[in-house]
């Protein structure tokens, strides 16, 4: 692994973000709107339902966590799509970069992109709604880490599709998160889902993460098993995504997708 090359690819996206005010605004705008909207919804539910009576910030906290996941995943895809849109894809893949270096650089860049959007949104929640996500304590870090890994995993899976099938896979890139969201049990307990859907939900790390967030905020207890399960599933999916990315890269070299990308 070459840190210089990893930094070089990071720099390409860093320049892109810092050169354009609309791009920075775009990163900050959606999380802020999302959090503000869910803040008001959360306030409403907190005063009109018994379930959320004891934890005003449950929905809002879950909204912030989900937004972090969404931003990480979309952010990773965007980095890949930027290369296709700018017709720079070939230049990138003829540079002497190992696949591991490309992925590492994109993983770091995606984190920074997500944090640029999320930090202002988190800071807003306290003065606007009197809620601090930091109430989750040290476990907030593990929940964020788990979501980050899953977001990156989804990003790598979608990028594998882009490599293998080309730009026509772009629409899938935008819809992945929406497909998984119902099974993630972000705003409701898993018992809300029909039994068949529950079986699907249990093989996703999301359900453990959001169940645990609710558990900490509502019951004021910590169930380590939820965090552990989330990491186990994450490790499995992350490993599979890396394998699939390498497979797609080789398949693209056989099929010729790397040459025609962007056309």
């Amino acid at each position: 692994m070459s840190l210089t090359r990893i930094y070089g690819l990071f720099l390409r996206h860093f320049y892109l973000i810092t050169r354009s005010f609309p791009r920075i605004l775009d990163l900050v705008y959606w999380p802020t709107i999302q959090i503000t909207l869910w803040g008001f919804i959360s306030n409403f539910f907190a005063t009109h339902t018994t379930y959320y009576n004891n934890a005003v910030g449950v929905i809002l906290t879950c909204a912030i966590l989900y937004d972090f996941l969404f931003r990480t995943s979309i952010g990773f895809n965007m980095l890949f799509l930027e290369e296709i849109w700018s017709r720079n894809f070939t230049n990138l893949f003829i540079a002497p970069m190992k696949i591991g270096e490309i992925l590492t650089s994109l993983v770091i860049t995606a984190l920074i992109r997500s944090l640029i959007g999320l930090v202002p949104a988190i800071l807003l929640t306290s003065p606007l709604f009197g809620i601090s996500i930091l109430e989750l304590g040290i476990f907030l870090f593990f929940l964020f880490l788990s979501l980050y890994i899953f977001g990156i995993t989804l990003g790598i899976l979608v990028s594998s599709g882009l490599l293998r099938f080309g730009p026509s896979f772009e629409n899938i890139a935008w819809s992945t998160m929406f497909l998984l969201a119902p099974f993630g049990c972000i705003y409701y307990p898993i018992e809300t889902l029909p039994e068949v859907f529950q079986k699907i939900a249990y093989v996703l790390p999301l359900v453990y993460i959001f169940e645990e967030a609710r558990n900490i905020l509502i019951n004021q207890t910590v169930d380590i098993e939820n965090i552990y399960n989330a990491f186990i599933w994450n490790a499995l999916y992350f490993t599979l995504s890396i394998i699939l990315f390498y497979y797609s890269f080789n398949a693209a070299k056989n099929k010729g997708t790397l040459i025609n990308m962007g056309e």
């Binding site: 090359r5 930027e82 003829i94 002497p96 056989n254 790397l258 040459i259």
Partner: protein
Amino acid sequence: MKNLIEVKNIKKNYGKKEAVKGISFNVQENEILGLLGPNGSGKTTTIGMLLGLLKPTSGQIFIDNLKLENHRIEILEMINFISPYVELPKKLTVKQNLNVYAKLYKVQNIEERIEYLSEKLRIEELLDSITGELSSGQKNRVSLAKALINEPRVLLLDEPTASLDPEVGDFVRTFLEEYKKEKKISVLLASHNMSEVTRLCKSVLMMKNGEIIDQGTPDDLVAKHGRTNLEEVFLKLSRSKNEFN
């Protein structure tokens, strides 16, 4: 002279379609080899295989005696590529783009290298410009600077002067001639501009339907086919059936 590029019987099939049918050729140090052929003849596929973007169905490629299949990264460090169909990130300034690629190629003394190329390619005044806002000629010179950022020993050019006005085209050709002479690099030039090929290339490969149907110096080919210039030879071979095999 040492062969920097050695291509041995490479084939590329897409399913049942044979895009390249077992071609072999060498490019020596300090040589520009022209790759000619009508659209769909297999030129881009051949270049794609040399760049490691495409995996040959069979056959072997050696760059500076290293087998591409086993030494992809080392080989990519010593080659580069330019094509009008591949662009640099449009929103970055020229200098930012060159800086990024200098890092990807682990160039030492980046500032010096950018300064040297900027002067040679007359892009000093463009360094702070947004790449996407440049004219075709300016973009072409910037792409050339990117292609030379790592001081490649092998340069692959796919229609490097397509869509350029005659003056810029001439500037690029003159630059390539001088740079090749100075650095003793090997160049594979795919082009549809026959006067360009005649001027720059020591020898030429004619491709059609994935095969090399003829090869030689531009003068030899013209004499062999009884024509007055390379364009006429190209037309004759392109329109003919494969009787030249």
